[in-house]
């Protein structure tokens, strides 16, 4: 399931600095909620992982050991040790462990490249981490935390129905 075209058009036209700021806040919030997220990575934590949503002109580069995330346009994405490409909603579902990575790979909805040992370690680390994005990120919405969470859960429910 792909993001609606009007939404991707809007996101792709946002200034990169703004996207970087929002994504950094989301990433830091997620790390606060799940401080042990990268524990399972071991020596793979020093690798650079590139997440490339196939329906957006963006690439997200995660460097676990420095607990940092960088956003770039696809054409300017730096070289990484390992990468995964797939629809944005599929990547988010994998992040939450709502779908099985192997099954998505078998179906060819997802492509992986580079250092597979690092990628497998990251997959297993994420899978063991009980991400719940609507709950984890609701606090960022301040007084609108409740409605944000309800809306996000609704969006997730509809998105997952199209994935599984």
């Amino acid at each position: 399931m792909l993001l609606p075209r009007p939404l991707t058009l809007v996101i792709d036209r946002l200034p990169l600095a703004l996207v970087q700021r929002v994504i950094s806040q989301v990433f830091n919030r997620a790390l606060q909620q799940h401080p042990d997220l990268f524990d399972r990575l071991g020596h793979e934590a020093d690798k650079r992982f590139c997440f490339t949503p196939s329906d957006l002109d963006l690439a997200f580069i995660v460097h676990p050991v420095s607990r940092s995330i960088r956003v770039s346009r696809k054409s300017r994405a730096p070289r990484c040790d390992a990468g995964v490409t797939g629809p944005m909603l599929t990547l988010l579902a994998l992040l939450e462990g709502r779908i099985d990575g192997d099954a998505v790979f078998f179906s060819r909805s997802l492509a992986v490249s580079g250092d597979m040992e690092a990628m497998l370690a990251l997959r297993n680390a994420l899978d063991d981490c009980s991400f719940d994005l609507p709950a984890d990120l609701a606090g960022m919405a301040g007084p609108l935390a409740g409605p944000f969470r309800q809306l996000a859960e609704l969006v997730r429910q509809r998105a997952l129905a199209g994935l599984v």
């Binding site: 399972r40 990575l41 071991g42 793979e44 462990g97 709502r98 779908i99 099985d100 990575g101 192997d102 099954a103 790979f105 078998f106 179906s107 060819r108 492509a111 992986v112 490249s113 580079g114 250092d115 597979m116 040992e117 690092a118 990628m119 497998l120 370690a121 990251l122 997959r123 297993n124 680390a125 899978d127 063991d128 981490c129 009980s130």
Partner: protein
Amino acid sequence: MELICPAGTPAAYREAVEAGADAVYCGFRDETNARNFPGLNFTRDELREAVAHAHSRGVQTYVALNTFMRAGSEDTWYRATDDAVAAGADAVILADMALMDYVADRYPEQRLHVSVQASASNVDAVSLLVESFGAKRLVLPRVLTVAEIANIARQVDCELEVFAFGGLCVMAEGRCSLSSYVTGKSPNMQGVCSPASHVRYREDGPDMVSELGGFTINRFGEGEPAGYPTLCKGRFHIADDDGYAFEDPVSLDVMEHLDALRAAGVTALKIEGRQRGKAYVAQVVSSLRAALLAPKDERPQKLAHLHRLSEGQRTTSGAYDKKWR
């Protein structure tokens, strides 16, 4: 029949318990078990917590210590066994006869299960392990028909567990050297089949090419369902044909033989997949639990969706329904 379910992480473990497992099997984060994959498995503390959680829900924990001890490093396996017993494991799953002897000698009260990796596939082999080490259960290799399983069950003095769903090996369990041949590492010794460190994928036009140890082992056309990058599921050029020489990328599903397995005297059904995510564990365990409780005519409907989770998105009943001899 009991449902024995896989867990590669504590999160998957909790899902298995929630979804209706009778027992969950798992391993430590080292070479003492046959799923020694990066980021997978349990620390000693995680195992203790998992065992306590499972016991509070009436679920058992089996600890897989099912690789073969490396000469000179036997202590690694002995320590893992000591820790599994201390953590309260309800059974240890072993393949190496020396480790079975260690358990039988040191922990005579500890329940001992024989791993599929021991490759015991006839009455004499099973009986030897029962008589020598007090094995209470044997996990049968996936090489037998239902009739052969029934024949063994009638003649042995232990419980039998069979694989019901999940990944399918090349049927030389505990003896397969294909991964060693290409990568120097094997599930039998290092606990890794086709280790991720030796796997690469690359795109070649619309095709996805998988490589193992520097060898191209498969090429999947656009949209063609993929499989694991193991040599046994590689495609080979033989004479004038390109195809699968050992086996197709396909998963095992023997649930259509459920009643026959029950009648054969099988005690437990095992789900393969400690390397799979918690979503897989939750979905497969709950579906198989529902099927076990359902009348025969309702089972297919409860299992129909599982092929989408399977390797190559296809399933087979494999040797259980052997037609090739």
